[in-house]
Amino acid sequence: MKFFLQKRTDISAANNIRSVLISVALALVAFSFVLLASGADPISAYKDIVMAAFGSVRGLSNTGIKMIPFLLCGLAFLVPRKAGLWNIGGVGQLHMGAVMSAWVAYSFPDLPAPLLIPLMIIAAFIGGGLLGGICGFLKAKWSANEVVTTMMFNYVAILLVNHLSAYPWRRGGGIAYPMTSEIVPAAWMPVIAGTRIHYTVVIGIVAAIIIFYWLRKTKTGYEIRTVGSNPQAAKYSGISSMKIILLTMFIGGGLAGLAGFGEVSGLQHSLRVNDFTPPDARYGFSGLIVAYLAGMNSLVLIISSFLFGGIITGGNTLQIIADLSSGITGLFQGLILIFVIGGQVLLRYKIKLKTGEP
């Protein structure tokens, strides 16, 4: 008796959501064993996570703050993916956006906020967009693998942030940890009253809605999906894959750049040296997780990034109250991703039992 995989022909949105839900449920079960093994009661632990993340204004505020980069980096992964591209450079594009918006804030400290902040947003979008766009160009022109190039630029951008925070833009006053000086208050993105959630969240949600319609209802969206699903057909129907690759990588990179703007303008108000472990479950990589959780649907992405922000917030709280180690949220993220990607098999294939005859 043997199992084998048979290709499904009926891949639908409902199937997609079903496979994600099953996968998440299995990941939760697997994680329960981890909790049991460390002497925590899974049911009460999950209750704690939910309460910590969504049960109070403070918790919701922390969840919201984390949701913003997840959402924008999720979109940064999703848009090129629709054209068949792998943008795993969200980390670098986020850092580039952060550099550009900080640069604008340092260069024009006398501008009033209504002028300065939009300028920073545009700069961040262009910065992240160009970093993504370069990789798109190398791909379109010379078919250089975008997985490699976007990943390499992650390091380049992080190193640039490190260089700027350690040397040219370094904050004076003998602070041991290298960071840049604070940007002027006019460059601070306002926050929703009573919380620390900055209004970049609105930008993220609006972007997700626009992208949903852009991909579905416009001619360009149709071209993107064609290039992604059937490059041959796209070629014969005269769609310029050069244009589509450049466009999706630029927009994807730009969206991750906006996440960088949010971190600088809304939260940190400065740049600091990164400890050189980019893939350590940072936002740019988590963008990939939330996009998969959302079944590559940008409207669902709003929900999945909110929930994921909650998981991180709740996990952080859990490790304090249940005295678990800091790895617990990373472990949980990894488990979810492994199960979700494994669960995609339910979406694309039927698992059949082989009975004697081939």
Partner: protein
Amino acid sequence: MDTIILIMQAATLFIFGTMGEVLSQRSGVLNLGLEGMMVVGSLTGFAAATLSGSPWIGLAAAMIAGGLMSLIHGFIVITLRQSQVVSGMALTIFGLGLTAYVGKHFLMVGAPPRVPTIVSGITPLLFLGLALVPLTWFVIYRTRFGLIVRAVGEDPEAADTAGINVARVRYICVFIGGMMAGLAGAYLSLAYSPMWREGMTAGRGWICIALAFFSMWRPAMVLIGAELFGGLWILQFKLQGMDIPVISSIFTSPYLLMMIPYLATVLIVTLVMSNEKLRKRIGGPAALGVPYERSS
């Protein structure tokens, strides 16, 4: 002289990790989970060596742990035919989380029994790393196994037609890659900087992936790349210890210097892909990243 030894010590880790990745990629499987497998190797090696009192048992346990980790990736991408990119990412995030979680029991236990040195800080592992270069070259280009691996990576359909079990070959290569990553991790925690710290691989796994592309899957180029990255890695720390005025110039900023190998990788990948002749001569795995599915 001391600096050269320092560089070679740093490079040894890159050689271990990259050689495994090269073999895996040669068979058509990209494994972005290197960082995760490596850090699991670091912890397993540290724990096994501390508990057993022998660094060699630590190294062996780390290789097994790395290999087992790689089988998760193998199962998802070879058997379930899912995306290699996402599965590798998942493995890295999972490995970093798992080790941070389990590793808290080993944070305060002091130095592990370290790999003995032959002369002034040089361990036998350094020579093992150097020996791996001709050895891997021999295996890839001069053995039947190497021929099969290359065939599977270049044209799995043709290999299948010729009666080769594509899935089995890929599993073997991914497993060896995982063991090498485990070894690299244990080299870190038992020889290079004998201790355990959360996330102690600090991005070295990702450097190995960069190196695999930099080398264009050629063992000799792996050696050159590993020494280059090793040199810049050491230089970075040396420069960081200096006064700010000395290094304010853009030519001496450790961070800007560290960009060189990454930019070089982008350049090499682009150059090779842009030139049909060059690409043919290098003969890289054309089926890299593509799940194999019988079309029948």
